[in-house]
């Protein structure tokens, strides 16, 4: 109990909770368009956070996370519309399929290192896109797949109001973030960081490298799958070009890198820097401006890689320091004690 109290007394924690509570009431203030944008941003952020587990903390550059996103989305769509199963069953089957896909992809792929791993995962996404086109009887092929028939039959999750979907997505984001905090300070997290820094050394110290890579990969797959499920639940239209998209896969990887790979806040900052602006440019000014913003992000990415490989987050550290200095906290003696006990800020 005292641990919880002292953890809550730290400014980043209670300010974060306040921020989430405030965010939960945003749909009452904002126009529908902005709420829509925020929901999409939250979904991408969840995918970015889960990439950060395997790519940021684990150093395994996966460019194939779209597979999990698309697989869960399509499972929910097909099982609910074609087979008329309830949401919870469709969701559970989708998750099981995602975990199985992660095992099937991960088991051989983790024998590869470095760029070969990236190449193997990226081909899986492109292969899945072609498969979704081939099995057009199930997936609707190029025309896409609509979940609207399932809405008509009255599923509560699909028939939620936009505010409901917004809070669901926000909740998912919070869950994903808490998972990544747990991961960061768990045994697996420390093992993965050791593997990232030097796989041979980690292995020689007795870390079972393939096993912990696989655990992390499964966690990453489940979280990305949740993002895909959220997307299918909210948008209710599945397009193979988007669900199994190499570009989306790349986006999930690039946003944490821009924000700061291997940090807790990096994926969130990266996604909020990149995604809303680009999405707005497309919807407000048309595709051409979206392309222009993507070009700017490409250049930004190169500049970051060359001059600040740790991402944007370290440049923003002064904000955290300012908050820590000025935000109210408990009595100095106790907060001193708690800050030495608790791990350093991410």
């Amino acid at each position: 109990m005292r641990d919880v109290a002292s953890a809550l007394a730290r400014p980043p924690v209670y300010l974060g909770i306040a921020l989430v509570i405030a965010a939960a009431f945003l749909p009452g203030v904002l126009a529908t368009k902005w709420v829509h944008l925020l929901i999409l941003t939250y979904i991408i952020t969840v995918a970015a956070i889960s990439w950060n587990l395997i790519g940021g903390f684990g150093g395994q550059i996966s460019l194939g996370n779209s597979v999990f996103f698309g697989l869960t989305g399509y499972s929910i769509g097909i099982l609910m519309v074609t087979f008329e199963l309830p949401y919870i069953v469709a969701f559970a089957v989708g998750m099981v399929l995602t975990v199985m896909a992660a095992l099937v992809i991960g088991y051989p792929s983790f024998k590869l290192t470095g760029h070969y791993f990236a190449l193997a995962t990226i081909t899986v996404v492109e292969g899945m896109r072609f498969l979704a086109r081939y099995f057009r009887d199930f997936t609707g092929g190029e025309r896409g797949f609509s979940l609207v028939p399932a809405t008509v039959t009255g599923d509560p999750l699909l028939n939620l109001s936009q505010t409901g979907h917004y809070r669901l997505a926000l909740g998912l984001l919070v869950v994903a973030f808490l998972m990544s905090v747990w991961f960061r300070y768990s045994k697996i997290g420390y093992y993965m960081m050791a593997i990232r820094d030097d796989q041979v050394a980690a292995s020689s110290l007795g870390i079972d490298v393939p096993r912990y890579k696989m655990y992390t990969w499964l966690l990453c797959a489940v979280l990305t799958g949740l993002a895909g499920a959220m997307y299918a639940t909210y948008i209710q239209y599945l397009d193979p070009q988007y669900m199994f998209s190499v570009n989306q896969s790349v986006l999930y990887a690039i946003t944490p890198v821009i924000g700061g790979a291997g940090t807790l806040l990096g994926p969130i900052i990266g996604t909020f820097l990149v995604f809303p602006m680009q999405h707005m440019a497309i919807t407000e000014f048309g595709g051409a401006y979206g392309s222009a913003t993507y070009m700017v992000y490409g250049a930004l990415l190169i500049v970051l890689i060359v001059y600040a490989p740790d991402g944007v987050l370290p440049k923003l550290r002064f904000i955290g320091e300012w908050v820590n200095r000025h935000a109210p906290r408990r009595a100095p003696a106790e907060s001193e004690a708690s800050s030495t006990e608790s791990p350093p800020d991410p």
Binding site: G55, G59, I61, L63, P108, S109, K111, L112, T113, G114, H115, Y116, A118, L119, A120, I122, T123, V124, E126, G127, M128, F130, L131, R133, Y134, Q241, V246, N247, V250, A253, I254, V257, A261, G287, A288, G290, S291, A292, Y294, M295, Y297, G298, A299, L300, L301, I302, I305, V306, P309
Partner: protein, 304 residues
């Protein structure tokens, strides 16, 4: 029952397409083999070359094959500039840095194409006919593309194995640290290699546009096919890339005809991953050893 005429047709189509794909992949194998850098943007270089050849055809009426004479050198310079601006700065960095820096290039190039040309397919159908050899129909345009691919492979091979610069490039590929004390200017070799690789991508792109249309999203597929060919052919091997390209072409042709065109890529992607894994675990070598043993057993008496 095997229909020989049909099979001859399928194999011919496959070989001709495969040759052109190999041409596109050759630049990648050169860069990959010599500089040990994964150029994720290779597909977008090919993409831009396709668009440039399209522009030359649409606005100046230049035939795509003639355009290779313009696009090739332009892309050589383009490659040299890219190397100086971006690649040089990440060549000694981690693999993650290399992948993400070239992903940045990919975003810039692909969206540049999207900005200029939109999503409508572009092509340069220069109006070639077909010829028939022994009952097999051959599209002239694919035949010419194939010839360009073979000739360029020959030239590149001679360049790498018969010239002094080629020797320096091969030495750098084997060991930069050992090549340096023998007087090889590694930085210049890297610049030259990247320029050559992108120049080949340029030629490949302008030949490719004669046979198929292009949209900005094509770059992803082009990149992956190039990587599959490069990996199957063996890193840095020019002739390997050619044979792997021909093989992929034939596989694609058969699966497209007998099952569905959209099932061909998943199958050779699976093949690609299988080969990667066999190679990385050493099982490929073991299988080859077993096969050799098998043959040695069978022809045991003859070999001595």
């Amino acid at each position: 029952m095997i229909d020989l005429g049909l099979w001859a047709q399928l194999v011919t189509n496959g070989l001709l397409t495969g040759g052109i794909l190999a041409l596109m992949a050759m630049g990648l194998t050169l860069v990959f083999g010599v500089m040990d850098i994964v150029n994720v943007a290779h597909g977008t270089y090919v993409l831009l070359a396709m668009y440039l050849a399209h522009v030359l055809w649409a606005f100046f009426g230049i035939d795509p094959f003639v355009a290779t004479l313009v696009v090739g050198p332009v892309f050589f310079l383009f490659g040299v500039v890219s190397e100086q601006v971006v690649i040089k700065r990440v060549i000694d960095e981690s693999i993650a840095a290399q992948v993400f820096a070239t992903l940045g290039l990919l975003w810039i190039f692909q969206n540049f194409a999207q900005l200029l040309f939109g999503s409508a397919p572009r092509s340069a159908g220069a109006g070639y006919g077909g010829i028939s050899v022994l009952g097999v129909d051959i599209q002239e345009v694919r035949l010419y593309g194939f010839v360009v691919a073979i000739v360029l492979t020959g030239i590149l091979y001679l360049f790498l194995y018969r010239t002094k610069i080629g020797l320096a490039i091969r030495a750098t590929a084997q060991s930069p640290t050992l090549a340096r004390p023998f007087g090889v200017n590694i930085d210049r070799i890297y610049t030259l290699t990247f320029g050559l690789g992108i120049g080949l991508a340029g030629v490949g792109g302008s030949v490719l546009i004669a046979t198929r249309s292009v949209v900005p999203i094509s770059a992803n597929f082009l990149l992956l096919v190039a990587f599959v060919i490069v990996t199957l052919g063996g890193l840095g091997s020019i002739t390997g890339a050619l044979t792997a390209g021909l093989g992929i072409g034939v596989i694609d042709s058969f699966i497209s005809y007998y099952i569905s065109p959209s099932l061909a890529p998943p199958i050779y992607f699976a093949l690609f991953i299988a080969v990667l894994i066999l190679r990385s675990t050493g099982r490929g070598t073991m299988i080859r050893y077993r096969i050799n043993q098998l043959f040695a057993g069978r022809t045991g008496g003859m070999s001595h």
